[in-house]
């Protein structure tokens, strides 16, 4: 049952520029969480920042993957919560609730899956690679291969931001890198590289919204199955506040859906924001009030 827990930090490790891996002891969560799900994490003993922040499962840890001891999350220092989090020492306690949201899509007997990550959007893809290739089980289930190959297209601003490459390699992903400044991999955006190389297989993206919109449109053009994992700001993570909404296509038009409970991963073809500008059309049932 996903109630609020006080969870101890085992370690904080710097993985890249402004990027840290936080290791938490929480066997109850670790045993049930699936790749693509997330946790809400809040600093204990303060009202500023007030709200928890959502963080994707990076991976579970512990000797035996069928009963892991805890979870890792990987975060980029951007604002009020993360700039404090990176100063919290090992041994301290943070408040955590989860697992939340729906997992990334599962497949069976696929030849190849293409993951597309922009910046810190890479975080759900280590566990997902393990899950797809069957090198690790999650949620108390035995490992089961779902795909033969996982390609990770991973774009960063600059080489110093690349995080977790060895984790991806250990998981078995084939890496295709790009950087805005050309300091590593392809010089340019990861979408440009993807477009140039056109690897086969379903596309699954996580990263900045403009990148995900471009990916969704590309997938439509290629008539390729595609999912996007969204990172809308969340106040509660459990469906109570209706703040995390995005526009999702319905039988008639579109409706706001809560990313925390109906997502965070959506079929890209249903993600209305990717195919129209915000506010340019009214939903069905709009009262105009």
């Amino acid at each position: 049952m996903p109630h609020l827990r006080h969870v101890r930090i085992v370690s904080q490790e710097k993985l890249a520029e402004r990027t840290y891996r936080l290791r938490l002891i929480c066997p109850e969560i670790a045993r049930v969480i699936l790749p693509g799900q997330f946790l809400m994490l809040r600093l204990a003993g303060t009202n500023d920042p007030l709200l928890g922040r959502p963080f994707a499962l990076y991976d579970t840890w512990g000797d035996d993957s069928s009963s892991p001891l805890g979870v890792d999350i990987v975060y980029l220092v951007v604002g009020s919560m993360t700039s404090r989090l990176c100063t919290v020492p090992a041994g301290s306690v943070v408040e955590v609730w989860g697992p939340l949201g729906r997992p990334l899509p599962a497949f069976s007997e696929l030849e190849q899956v293409v993951l597309v990550a922009g910046g810190i959007g890479q975080t759900p893809f280590v566990a997902y690679t393990h899950w797809l290739l069957g090198s690790r089980g999650y949620g108390g289930q035995a490992a089961r291969p779902q795909a033969r190959r996982v390609l990770l297209y991973y774009g960063v601003r600059t080489a110093a931001r690349l995080a977790g490459l060895t984790d991806f390699q250990t998981a078995g992903a084939q890496l295709y890198l790009a950087s805005d400044d050309g300091s590593v991999g392809w010089h340019g955006s990861i979408l440009d590289r993807l477009q140039a190389e056109q690897p086969a297989g379903p596309l699954i993206g996580c990263g900045p919204e403009p990148m995900l919109k471009a990916l969704a449109r590309l997938a439509r053009q290629w008539q390729r199955p595609c999912w996007v994992s969204l990172e809308t700001p969340m106040a509660c993570g459990i469906g109570a506040c209706f703040s995390c909404v995005t526009r999702i296509g319905t039988a008639h038009n579109w409706d706001y859906r809560r990313v925390c409970v109906d997502g965070p991963t959506f079929e890209a073809a249903l993600w209305h924001d990717a195919f129209s500008e915000q506010g340019s059309d009214a939903p069905l049932g709009s009262t105009g009030a």
């Binding site: 007030l50 109570a240 049932g285 009030a289």
Partner: protein, 306 residues
């Protein structure tokens, strides 16, 4: 044994701690975190006549110890509510208080009349006269005369349910509005809804909320809400349900001493989803600290200098 029960007009509650409308969904969302069998009452998110998509995102932004929101009464409308949410709400082992908002006085009355027909088992009806986040303005409770009229007409068409008017703090003198609600026949008022506010990203020269302005809630507004509750309670105008920034046992006790007969937990549900039940479990010990065995003996016992 500490007696936690409270009476607000015709509304009897087994304990004074409820969860506030719009902060706990329709009962399913908090199911894993909140033991409904403990709660004093549950108030689902505001329901309107027609489905409302709500405001464009971003709908919330965090500010210092507070939360600005402009959800815009996102809900699937009246028929959907009765079909999909009401059957579940009916099974909850707690007092369920329906919260409604009309676009006009007549719509309030129409909805209240329908509640009288369909809401068998409801503990009370709360009129949201105070949503700040809707274009055209649904904050009817900025006007005493309109407040009195809506409450009176709703009471006429829904005579058998205790009636609560939820008030906005965005007025010069909330006691005038509370008095109007009392004259209209309300059993209690909920004070307060959110305080109008805004947040700006100056680098982009843009508002941080999709709706430009929003309503402030959370610990940041607690002193403001506390004063509003006290102002109404000290004049013994009408029983008050305190709402605004309540998150700890101290907060609950302060509101009770100030004169609230019950409290609602709002924003705190978002960052501490089990908070309401924890407070209920801790309440008897806090009451006992004041040397009494009844919550009712604590309400409105603030001692001020003459």
């Amino acid at each position: 044994m500490i007696d936690l029960s409270v009476q607000l007009g015709r509304l009897h509650l087994r304990n004074p701690i409820l969860v506030a409308s719009g902060t706990a969904g329709y009962g399913r969302e908090l199911a894993d975190y909140v033991d409904m069998a403990l709660l004093g009452g549950f108030i689902p998110k505001t329901v309107t006549r027609h489905p409302r998509p709500g405001n464009p995102p971003p709908r919330t932004v965090e500010t210092a110890c507070g939360l600005l929101n402009a959800i815009g009464l996102d809900n699937d409308g009246w028929d959907y509510f009765w079909q999909h949410h009401w059957p579940h709400l009916q099974t909850l082992p707690t007092a369920v208080i329906l919260n409604i908002a009309g676009k006009s006085e007549d719509e309030f009355v129409e909805l209240a009349a329908d509640v009288a027909r369909r809401g068998v088992g409801l503990a009370a009806l709360e009129l949201n006269l105070s949503c700040p986040n809707v274009a055209g303005g649904l904050d009817f409770a900025t006007d005493a005369e309109r407040t009195r009229r809506i409450v009176r007409r709703c009471r006429e068409v829904c005579p058998n349910l205790p009636l609560i008017a939820k008030l906005t703090p965005n007025v010069t003198d909330i006691t005038v509005i509370a008095a109007a609600a009392a004259e209209g026949g309300a059993d209690a008022v909920s004070a307060v809804n959110t305080y109008l506010g805004m947040a700006i990203d100056w680098r982009q020269r843009r508002p941080r909320l999709g709706n430009v302005t929003g309503g402030l809630s959370g610990p940041a507004i607690k002193p403001l809400a506390l004063r509003a509750v006290w102002a109404i309670a000290r004049r013994r105008i009408i029983p008050v349900i305190g709402v605004g920034g309540i998150a700890t046992m101290d907060d609950v006790m302060e509101f009770l001493v100030a004169g609230a007969s019950a409290v609602q937990i709002g924003t705190a549900n978002f960052y501490d989803p089990s908070v309401a039940c924890r407070l209920i479990q801790d309440l008897p010990a806090a009451i006992a600290q004041l040397g009494t065995s009844r919550v009712r003996d604590v309400i409105g016992t603030l001692q001020t200098p003459e």
